[in-house]
Symmetry: C2
Subunit: 297 residues, 2 copies
């Protein structure tokens, strides 16, 4: 497990450098610079404000199953984090979850105003595609397509829409699962499958990647729901009971606390099983899935 | 000119069918369907609500310079219209231009609420990339990259940001030009260059395309500003004097009404000159540029 932690931190550190490289702060404001400084500042604020970098780490770890040198995959890894950051900015908006804090800092619209926050989100989504398509990798188009599908109207955005539409309704396990699979699992499956695609993995490995991402996503969201119920603000970085305050449909609310804990364990077990498909990277993916359960222990 | 009109309408009609094909309404609501019906409805509302289809027509006309069969380029043409539609949805939001009407209909957030409007915009941008990357065209990746760059934080979004930041400030020609080049011209240049790229055009033609799109964009925005000052709601589809009410920096406000009219003419002249680079499609591109001036005659 300690080897896992070191490897994870090594991946995350490379992602951090790549993000900084891809989004430098312009020295001049417009019209001298091609990018208004306020826009770049808001993009950097959300993208470079810490976070676990789980999605880009998944992409790099998947790419590593068949490739030694990580460097070519770094733009793609950064792009997935841009999509994650955009989704958080838009999710936090007053018309959506109306959150004031994210990772202990004011949310984008609290720091920069709503208009800038909306545009910074748009710009990060767009920059993700610019970055992937500019990477020059032989299978960039296919990998970017996977990410687009998982992030889109039948993937992550469908989950966000369903999440908002179902607020205040009585919890229904089928709907909660629909939401979790899309809102959370899609953007964990996407980097695993994109990383494998970029490394030219075969169909069997891609199927293992899809299962792994799905189960990791379910486990991740259920443990998140459990933490929101029982965790301290120090553990979660946000105020507790937020889901209940918003009338969110959570898994514990749908099936009960004990069943939710058991389901999180079962999803981790399935992810651990799927991790066997990742060759010499199997131990890393296994440890990553197991580490989720430590959050709610 | 009448041949031009018939050709334009023929292109636009094909775009209309392609948009309908790419975004069908789901029959079931979630969790049965993979896409929440409310999201699909909002996406369709903005995408299929008419409009001149100028951007996709430009893409098809550019593709036709070197290709006979338009069919392979249709998904790309539709994708550019999706990006245009998303930008209008987000632009109309209360935090941005706070518009109630668009093409004589309630804006997306008035019809569906703000949360759905934000997500429908996000989903249309994302679907544009899904569509382009799924088109299977040999040069899809390069063409999509051009569109991403022109639509992004150094292109259209930079223009929108600058437009909002400059509201209420005294008009400065350099800033107004910065805004018009990005907010308007970038998304006219993008389809011309993407269409040429998809048809495998050479460097000379691409340069003509860049000039044409830029000058068409400037002429388009200046005539739009002039119409906002002098046009009737019937001509413009929106309430007159909207720019002044929002404190927008317009070209007539920066340089005067007469100079603005002369500048629109000069930009059209430059576009007409650049149109010579489009081979047998030159007459179409020439007529299109000239048709802009009719709006303010």
């Amino acid at each position: 497990m300690s080897g896992f932690k070191a490897r994870y931190d090594e991946y995350a550190a490379q992602v951090e450098l790549e993000l900084e490289r891809l989004l430098p702060l312009p020295r001049e404001d417009w019209p001298e610079s091609s990018r208004p400084k306020a826009l770049a500042q808001a993009m950097r604020y959300s993208l470079l404000s810490g976070g676990k970098r789980l999605r880009p780490v998944l992409l790099l770890a998947a790419y590593r199953t068949l490739r030694e040198d990580l460097a070519p995959a770094l733009p793609f890894a950064a792009a997935v984090e841009m999509i994650h950051a955009y989704s958080l900015i838009h999710d936090d908006l007053p018309a959506m979850d109306n959150d004031d804090l994210r990772r202990g800092q004011p949310t984008s619209h609290r720091a920069f105003g709503e208009a800038t926050a909306i545009l910074a989100g748009d710009a990060l989504l767009n920059l993700a595609f610019e970055t992937m398509l500019g990477s020059g990798l032989p299978r960039a188009c296919q990998a970017a397509r996977i990410i687009a599908e998982k992030a889109g109207a039948q993937g992550m955005i469908a989950g966000q829409m369903a999440d908002i539409l179902s607020e205040g309704r009585s919890p229904d396990p089928a709907l909660v699962r629909y939401i979790h699979l899309r809102k959370t699992a899609c953007l964990l499956t996407a980097p695993v499958m994109a990383g494998l695609t970029l490394s030219d993995a075969g169909q069997g490995m891609l199927e293992a990647g899809e299962t792994y991402g799905r189960e990791l996503g379910l486990a991740f969201q259920i443990t998140d729901d459990l933490l929101d119920l029982s965790g301290t603000p120090e553990q979660t970085g946000k105020s507790g009971g937020r889901d209940a305050a918003l009338g969110k449909m959570t898994w514990p609310a749908a099936v009960g606390f004990d069943k939710a804990r058991a389901d999180a364990s079962a999803a981790v077990d399935k992810a651990v099983l799927a991790a066997e498909g990742f060759g010499h990277q199997a131990p890393f993916f296994r440890s990553l899935a197991l580490s989720l359960l430590e959050r709610v222990r």
